[in-house]
Symmetry: C2
């Protein structure tokens, strides 16, 4: 005894996610979301509560997309460090839109909101970062010569490096990014 939704939440969230990815959280207005998602503000608020709600779902959507296009490949690989290196190269393609890159939505959000980020948002971010780090550790462990201490250090190294790649891809050209990746993996 009720009307059906004329949109699929997962579908409109993907549009929202793209917008947040391109513009950041604050610079994306509810009017912009309305246009991009193709639904009225009422529907946005009724489905997701508020702007933060849309963003939280967008982060989940981003995770899903990253998993499909990026993380699953790394997870399946048994190529150790080379697989992580390939992940770095894949990330650049993943985040590319036309000539420049949008970076990583998670990194963008950390950089924009920093410590004043909402608790819910911060939880999502830390959760995502932890997953990637554990995956790096898993691949580093394929080299049985490394102690757990070295693996921990290298995982931290790789996590920060990846964030550098995210920001740098917004202003550096492919050659500079290649130089970075090649040097990053020189003696791991």
């Amino acid at each position: 005894m009720a009307r059906k939704k004329e949109y699929i939440e997962e579908e409109v969230i993907e549009k929202a996610m793209e917008l947040f990815w391109r513009n950041g959280y604050e610079a994306t207005s509810v009017r912009m979301l309305e246009k991009e998602m193709g639904i009225n503000q009422f529907s946005i608020y009724s489905s997701f509560g508020n702007k933060k709600g849309v963003f939280i779902k967008s982060l989940a959507c981003y995770k899903g997309k990253a998993k499909l296009e990026l993380i699953n490949k790394l997870q399946k690989s048994s190529d150790g460090i080379n697989a992580i290196k390939q992940y770095f190269y894949d990330f650049i393609k993943f985040s590319r839109e036309s000539r420049l890159n949008k970076g990583c939505l998670i990194t963008n959000t950390v950089n924009e909101l920093g410590e004043k980020a909402d608790q819910e948002i911060m939880t999502e971010i830390v959760n995502f970062a932890t997953n990637v780090k554990h995956l790096f550790i898993e691949k580093l462990e394929l080299n049985d010569k490394k102690t757990s201490q070295v693996i921990k250090e290298q995982a931290n190294y790789l996590m920060v490096s990846l964030q550098g790649l995210s920001v740098a891809s917004k202003m550096f050209d492919q050659e500079q990014l290649d130089d970075f990746i090649e040097n990053t993996f020189k003696n791991l």
Copy 2:
């Protein structure tokens, strides 16, 4: 035959710079600037034209501060790569406010505005980045075993790494940052 300004432009710009550094460009409103700079909006607009004008001057102020507290030390050093490594550690202190870090204002701005950044702002950013890179090259050249090709590659590597440090310092703890820096300079 005219009244004197009741503020010194360099002084109020430093306050503005701190605010932009903490909050980013968009999230800093003219009302916030008014309060922090301690002058009326009229004075802001009469001295700096518009919000972008305040920001441009803030970027210049940031450069000056970075030069004094960070870059001059590196410039004076003849310790080659170790001097650059020290620069990385110095940067963390430089950008620290209370427990967490504000990152680098230049990196923050690239990450926030990306390709849609105003031309004037972009010029300032590229100019600053170029200076730092040339300084890295200068220090790398102190090791006469390196070819110019290797130096170029390592300079690109260091530039991206530094941006990683800027973002990561906003959410990672000191131990993780130390792991990053130590591993970064293992490759050089």
